[in-house]
Amino acid sequence: MKFFIPLLLAVLLTSCTTIPKPETFFQLTPSSSKYKALQSRVIETSKDKELLSASAAVLQDLGFQIEESVIDAGMLRAVKERSAREYSQEMGRFFIFLVGLFAQTSIIIPVDLHQQVAATLIIYPEENSTSRFNVRIMFYRKLWKGEGSSGNQSIPPGTQTMEMINEPEIYRQFFAKLSKSVFLEIHQI
């Protein structure tokens, strides 16, 4: 019984991490076009520099630090660091710990500690148009887990995972702020 739960946990954990097939890395999925629509907007302007600087201003307003900007490719990359502690994960950790106590062992599962929210933004002119630009932004986050233990075996901290942020509301908010910011930037208000 003492070894049963850590064993079960180990089996569960390994079943989560399947090694992907390399052929799928460069294959579009059915949801690719949906995400593309979510991430892109057309902005009516002919001034690429102003559009890029307005985008940087919005990202700064949202608490991001601009890490990289390439004007001739119309690209920005920005990040912000935040805590990733969540109540539900802490509760899950506590529950598993209690289950472990019944089995006379100590199981502390690692929980998310820190996150880096990042955004990559690209602007490019629309085909056959000089007054319309496509803006595409991608939000994602990297998460770092803390330490844990299973019986006498300690689990080191620092496991890293990454996930795309695909909530439509976040993209809607960003583009709403961007259209305001573009207006202000172009009219120098």
Partner: protein
């Protein structure tokens, strides 16, 4: 005393072994047939005259595929991107794409992809990328 002497002499012997005895192979920097083959399926030519258009298509294709574009050098036509792959994010895929003009009306695109820091040598992987790029180039 004899023990120390023994250890010291052992070190000298080891050092003697490590210097001068190994020589880099003569073909270290020469192209092998396998490398030529890999290069050929990593490279494809497209009928596009505008390098900027090709660059945007590459970036767009990478974003469609869920890659994070990390670096762009527009004058050189270089794009670096990466993504985590797999259900448990157990893998890390990195890609470097180089776009350069070939003649007046064509662009040559070369892709190098790594999976968990090991080069991907499966032609199918690169075919899939070029199929996605083709869509991105000619469907917009």
């Amino acid at each position: 005393m004899t023990g120390r002497l023994l250890i010291l002499s052992f070190f000298f012997v080891l050092q003697a072994c490590s210097t001068g005895s190994t020589k880099p192979p003569d073909n270290l920097l020469s192209l092998t047939e396998a490398q030529m083959k890999i290069r050929s399926f990593q490279t494809r030519t497209f009928d596009v005259s505008d390098q900027q258009k090709a660059l945007h298509a590459v970036v767009s294709a990478l974003m469609d595929l869920g890659f994070i574009v990390e670096r762009i050098n527009a004058p050189m036509g270089l794009v670096t991107a990466a993504k985590f792959a797999g259900t448990g994010n157990s893998g890390f895929v990195e890609a470097t794409i180089m776009i350069r003009p070939k003649g007046d009306n064509q662009m040559e695109v070369r892709v190098n992809a790594l999976f968990n820091t090991k080069p991907i040598e499966d032609p199918k992987v690169y075919q899939n990328f070029f199929a996605t790029l083709q869509k991105s180039l000619f469907s917009s």
